[in-house]
Symmetry: C2
Subunit: 195 residues, 2 copies
């Protein structure tokens, strides 16, 4: 029992559930399926999560935690708006490509029927991230003092789209490596949106 607790069973449940949701659909996956895939009893699963909604919400919250810890918190400690933005692009792409987190982060982007109150919480955190990116872009545009035809808001949406879309096409053994994506996306964005 103690040993079970030390391997962070909640995170393991979230990861397994996220994989099942993607493979067979959220609605088609039952709490029984999740328990069986984890070799847990149904009671063991309900000890950690009361409902499938709670699992889905926790997956999405965990995806936002990952983004905040590995992107925003790192970027905040960097000096210089331009270097901050470069780092944000690199780290955000790394989160999207991370093999161990992809199952979790993909769930953020699909339209799953969360109860409205929970959906609002997730959307609020997504919006906070966007505002952070938007402000950073505005800082860089100000520093460069370049009159730009592109507003920070539109630029932030474009950047989020480029990066969050990667999961739709990326193949780990494909010709475009993570490093090549970081370099080329940074080039496109800096030249294109920052004048």
């Amino acid at each position: 029992m103690l040993r079970e607790a030390t391997i962070e069973p909640r995170q393991e449940i979230l990861r397994t559930a996220a994989r099942l949701f993607q493979q067979q659909g959220y609605d088609a996956t039952s709490m029984n399926d999740v328990a069986a895939a984890l070799k847990l009893s149904k009671g063991g699963l309900y000890h950690h999560f009361q409902s499938k909604d709670e699992i889905l919400f926790d997956i999405m919250s965990h995806a936002m935690d990952i983004t905040e810890e590995r992107v925003i918190n790192v970027v905040r400690r960097i000096d210089g708006a331009e270097e901050r933005l470069r780092t944000l692009i690199r780290l955000h792409i790394q989160v999207v490509l991370s093999p161990e987190d992809r199952e979790i982060t993909v769930m953020l982007h699909e339209n799953h029927p969360l109860p409205p109150a929970l959906r609002r919480k997730i959307n609020g955190r997504k919006k906070d991230y966007l505002v952070f990116v938007e402000n950073l872009i505005a800082d860089v545009q100000r520093k460069r003092n370049s009159p730009s035809s592109v507003t920070p808001r539109a630029a932030a949406f474009a950047l989020a789209g480029m990066i969050n879309w990667i999961y739709q096409w990326y193949k780990p053994d494909g010709p475009l490596t993570g490093e090549a994506i970081v370099r080329q996306y940074t080039d496109i964005f800096f030249r294109g949106a920052l004048g």
Copy 2:
């Protein structure tokens, strides 16, 4: 009966089903729900579609038809690689923003459990579109004769991401109009990816 046939019942079924799938989830929506929302008998619905898989596949196929008719077929008739690419960006954004087609086109991007053979057909058509965009980008880069740090492949993925992601944040009554998105996204992409 004749009159029913003239309002293209199949398309109306697809649009209503797409809306239900997005509102309540694909798996949670039954053929009964679709029939009820259309005020059809279950037999009337099965007259048009054998199964929910068939409806989902037809929604996705219809979304690809829309993209081919309103983007690719128009672009092919235009002279000059650069003008072609500008037009493609504008028309693709218009398809994504189109109020009457949004319910249909959004379905393309979500991870729904289609049978593998049908999934492969849709993915093949998505890939054809990407290759068309990639070749067009390569044409423009050649014409401009500018050594670019960005490959046509990476640029095509970036562009598809920027545009296809719009459905995640766009609000018809929000501050960013369709026209403003077209102008700014075109600026970002042309400056950023075409050197």
